[in-house]
């Protein structure tokens, strides 16, 4: 019975972590959608490598 409870705890932990990470992604997506203009979010163009125009050029970390 004790073993069963231990594995059940592991199962509950898996559900819990999934809920936290899934919830975080949803929260961050909604926050980002409202924080930035839609035209900025969909401004990526295929094959474009002009870093001068791009927010946060590679290796600088974070956003400006």
């Amino acid at each position: 019975m004790e073993n069963l409870n231990n594995f059940q705890l592991l199962e509950y932990a898996a559900w819990g972590i999934s809920a936290v990470l899934g919830g975080w992604m949803l929260f961050d997506m909604i926050r980002t959608n409202s924080k930035y203009a839609e035209q900025t979010l969909i401004s990526s163009r295929e094959g474009e490598i002009e870093d001068v125009l791009v927010i946060d050029p590679p290796h600088q970390g974070g956003h400006r």
Binding site: N3, Q39, S44, E46, I55
Partner: protein
Amino acid sequence: MTQTTAIHGEKVSLLRVLGPGHVWALGVGIVLVGEYMGWNFAVGKGGALAALIACWTAGMLYTCVAMIDSEVTSTVAAAGGQYAQAKHIVGPLMAFNVGLFLVLAYTMLEAGNAITAGYLVQAVGGMAGFEGVHDKPFIVLTIVALAWLNYRGVFATLTFNLIITAIACFAIVVLFAAVRPWTDDVLKPAELLTGLPYGWLGVIAALHFGLWFYLGIEGTTQAAEEVRSPARALPLGTMTGMITLLVAATMTWYICVGLMPWEYLGQAITPLFDAARLTGSLWLMVFLFVGTIFSTLASANGCINDASRAWFSMGRDRYLPVWFGAVHPVYRTPFRSIVFLVPVALIFALGAPLDQVITFSILSGLLGYTFMSFNMVMFRRKWPLGSIRRGYVHPFHPLPAIVLFLICSITYFAVFLGYGTQLVAMMVFYIIVSAWFAFHRYKYVKRGDQFTMAWPRPVGY
């Protein structure tokens, strides 16, 4: 600082931070699980020798895929991989279909991997003496946690893949050395190899699962917009990945058929782990179990990366709602596509049987490979060598394209032998969605904007 409006000309793009090692990890990471499980059903279809013939025939198919992909992608450096290739070389309807092949092949494979990860944890729980253990919490955790990692950034995601894939590869090499293949102390191939029990029809049937040794290596092209040097990193990562897989596949076959009779091997669930158990070494058992789990996670992780890039690219071109074409301003990932595909993967992982999920994935992949064969011929005809800059030129054209088409045709027959209904159902599905795209969706596409490569007008136009 909170930014609510776009500054004129300011853009958010995917982050160019990956090197050839990440490309290798993406390709091999998706595939290596096929060495740990799945390939051995080819043994059940036609015996051990048939599995070896299938392994090398499929190896030839994928070598052609890798060569063709490397040449085209070193030129069409865009997320979406074969989707972007089809768009520029064949046309929008082909591109839409190829995009769907990619998304479905990778999402189904991701679901299959999550089912396997859940099964493995459940099996460990059962072996440890627990009763009434469930796999669903771990299936959901696998999909959600890896999606979260992908959401947070491509560099960490593929660095993680690089580490766990390297460990899983190393486990195969260690097992190979541990069974001392230079002696017949452990391996008994002379006693266990039994010819072709079902003749050459068994060899053809084995081809279906022979693909499992390499399925997904073409996914390296999805990183095209995130590598620092596409012309160098993509061919290098893809080719070294293919070499790794050819060696690992042959080693895996040799270990397993030298330790287990084909009747058992043909229906084993975790053949490499079983091989480690047969050596009697506890530390090898543990190492190969870790390798099995790592290969499963690496595959699911790479699949999320690739499916989301293909979906994102189609959204960006308005082949799907443009909402999916968004990039996260901080993490620089296609965040909406990643989140959207989580419930899709969960539905397949929790609601469909593993063999159906995997067969749908294989068939979608196979359709993509067939496209590559005539895509390559059209690419060389429309833009001959010297007309545009190529990072890599594959040798012996058009032989690889012809070989690829022929092996794909034989493999369709092999799949038809075992899963004819699924093959027909999937063809019907793609015909219906093609009609939807041609008669409804295509009017939303900005036709001039979708062709982004600065190429000269193609020959004959």
